[in-house]
Every structure is written in C-alpha cells, then in structure tokens.
Symmetry: C2
Subunit: 220 residues, 2 copies
DNA sequence: ACGAAAACCCTACCACGGTAGGGTGGTCGA
DNA sequence: TCGACCACCCTACCGTGGTAGGGTTTTCGT
C-alpha cells in the first residue's frame, strides 16, 4: 500500500475531542503513512509543542476549538513559518468556513462527514504541495452522503463462517493457540483457516490483515 | 475465559462523522470488550439496523445528527423497547442537554471532551444497569480540561528517539527487514530496539503492540 | 575526566507463523 | 449417487520474530 518512507516528518492533530483525536491520529498513522503523530488539545498546546519539537509536516486542526476558533491558530502558524501544511477539519456546514480558512493560510479543508477515503486523498494532496478545498465554497456541501464500508461482513469478503470467526479473533490480536483453544480445534486447523483468509485478502501476514482492516467493525 | 467476548451482545455507534465513528468504535472494541461494534450514520439507519438485527446491548449516539437531534431517536428507541442502554455523546456544552437526554430515556451522557477513561467508565456503568450523568446538569461542564495521554509520543512513553522511530514503523505493519533497511541498520539492531520497546510497554509481541496502540484489545 | 546510556554490531538459539501436501467425515444440491 | 465444499486432523519444512549474551563507539551530564 502506501509508501511514505522513513523519516518524513510528523503529523500534528489539534482537536479537543480525545476520541476524535484518537480516530484521526490512528487513521493518519495507518493509512497515510505517518510515522509519528502527536496530538494537542488546543491552539496553545499546539504552538508549545511546535516550539519545543520541530515543525510538523502536516497539521490537522479542528475548526472549533475550546480556546477560540482555529483561525487564530492558523494565522499564528502562517505568520511564524508558512511552511507547514495545515488541513482544517470541521463538523458543521457553516458557510464560508472554507474560504475563511483558506484566507487564513490553510492548505486544505475537509468535512468530518467526508468518508475516510476523501480524508486520505486530502492528506495526500496537501502533502504534495497541492491544496484541497472540495466544494468551491459556494456549492454548499452537497448533502449527498458519502457512505462507505466501515463495517465489513466476512461473507461479502468471500470468507466462510468459520473463517470469519477466526478473522475476528485474529483482529483482536490473539495468537493461534488461543484461537484454537477458544474454538476447540487444533492450532493446525486455525493455521489453515488463516492461510485461506490471507490469500483471499491478498496479504501475506496477519499483521497486514490487522493494519488493513483495523478500525472497521466485523459483522459476523 | 474473559468477560463478554463471544456472544455478549453488540454495540451500536450512531454518528455522522466517519472518523469519530471510527474512533469510538475502535475504542469500544479495544477497551470495553465489545466483540462486535456496528456503526450507523444516522437515526434512520440505526433503527433500520436494529429492526433487521437484534437489539444491541449498548447504543452510543452523537447528540447532533444530520437528521435532527438525537432526541427523536432516543424517544423512538425508548418507546419501542426500553431495554437498550443508550449513551449520548455531545461535543458542545449546551445547557440542559444532559437533562433533556435523560428525560428522553438515555442511560447516560458524556462529553466528547472527556478523556477516554471517563468514556470507558461511563460505558461500564451503563452496562451494569447504572446511569452516568457526570455534571448534575447545573454544574455546567467544568472547563478544567481533562487532558490525558492517549497518543503515541514516544518520549513520554519512556522510549528513546530511535525506539520511537522503530515503534512507528512497527505500528505501520512493516517487518523487521524493511525497518532495518529504512533505517540503514542491521535487522539485529532493529530486533534489539523492538525487544526494548516490548518490555517497556509490557507486551510480548509486535501484534500486541499494534492492537494496543491502535485500538484492538487483547485482553488475555 | 568519568560513567551511564544510547546506538550499533555479532553469533546463536528457539518459538511462532505460514506453507505444502497429504487425509477423514459431513452436508448440500444437482 | 456423485461431486463440491467445508471443517477438521496430521507431518514436515522454513522464514521471521524475539531473547540471550557477548562487544564497540559516541554522546551527554555531573
């Protein structure tokens, strides 16, 4: 999948919702190839962090922060060093946010309702020096929802029922032995199920499976 | 073996922000012992899902949904079958939300700003039949931020700089060989770094590391 | 100037994961 | 009844991952 090479620089997520931070940070590290992802709960913490450690390669900021909107932070960042790629993320459809944000120096704007794929595309674009402003600011965020598979069913993945159970336990990080004893079968049998799963999913390791499917729920 | 693994009942997350959903769902499965977590993007989808599949053991609803607030959904749920444990989650500090939500039949209310630990405690409480309403609705969400460590900052995890780099690549699912070549060191050196990381984190596998820091639980 | 710690290298050993290639018994639909 | 498929078992092989126990160099704080 994506190749982001070793020491590319780190990403910084600024959001005051821990769970959201968690989700975004996880997604960044798993699907966008970021080695280090740091989180800050607000603008001040973000600036302090950057002062102490270097300039991040990418900054993702929630528009609505506890200590004011992201606009101030944005301007400060731009004033200090315009180098950082800043991507602003918002949960609502406030008109003009995109343009405000762009004026303040952001390199892109995305909506929390966007599917993760869009998110990843935006990150990639910004990373390459491009900008990413989906709706041309007058298009008013088309309500057409971009639903995407966040939960996967083993069947529509081409797996048998048993393989699905094995997959579920594999995703939870259980070693073969435990899967075997939990299923009351031999470790060998588990291995064979796993071999089948691997080649059906086109990967070679169990860890590739985990990094591939992690974050989406398995529906049996 | 462990608590609610096998067929304890599933959790349902209702939120229209994919990334948030991702975070919450991941946290539920990793830190709250939920084997199955399903996600719905709105109230309608939630109801449809419950109609098709069974009653979930836990429902987590974002207060602000695209198709109106969660109150309608809450009432519908309560009217249909009061059995479900519903936990409402909100991102802002709107006064009276907690009481509104409680009146509508929710079993608990949490704030997105709350640290994940609080989230987990709320889930556990609701699961045991108790309720969870942090501020007594008049206390107006103390601004004292509840910052907590939740993301990979190698240093405040007790890791050296190099170990942090290795950890990052490990989390991306890269095998030792690749890490070694990316870092221009021997595979052996990488192994030693990893051994150090493992015992500092108190785990025994790299997959335990991944599942630990990425959300999947291992609960042995 | 000295000691500690980090980063690097080496050999060797063993458990685990995954593959290959055999076989059995059961269920289902043509 | 026959074939297809699933689940299960077995032995055997090998690559990777992780540990143990040696060692060298550089960096850094006191």
């Amino acid at each position: 999948m994506n190749e982001g090479d070793g020491h590319a620089g780190y990403a910084l997520v600024v959001d005051d919702h821990p769970l959201v931070m968690r989700g975004v940070a996880g997604y960044l590290s798993s699907h966008c190839g970021y080695a280090w992802v740091h989180c800050a709960a607000g603008g001040a913490e973000c600036l302090a962090w950057i002062a102490r450690h270097g300039q991040p390669e990418l900054v993702i900021v929630d528009f609505w922060l506890a200590d004011g909107s992201a606009l101030d932070l944005l301007k400060t960042l731009s004033a200090a060093r315009a180098a950082a790629n800043v991507l602003v993320m918002s949960g609502d459809d406030g008109v003009g946010i995109a343009s405000q944000v762009r004026a303040a120096g952001a390199r892109g704007f995305i909506h929390k309702n966007d599917p993760p794929e869009t998110f990843a595309r935006a990150v990639r674009a910004v990373r390459r020096g491009k900008t990413w402003f989906t709706d041309a600011d007058g298009q008013a965020a088309a309500p057409g929802r971009g639903r995407h598979p966040l939960q996967v069913s083993p069947v529509d993945l081409g797996l048998t029922r048993r393989q699905g159970e094995v997959l579920a336990m594999m995703l939870r990080g259980l070693p073969n032995k435990r899967i075997a004893s939990a299923l009351n079968v031999t470790e060998q049998t588990v291995k064979e199920h796993i071999t089948a799963i691997l080649q059906r999913l086109g990967v070679s390791n169990r860890i590739e499976v985990i990094t591939l499917l992690h974050g989406r729920a398995l529906r049996l």
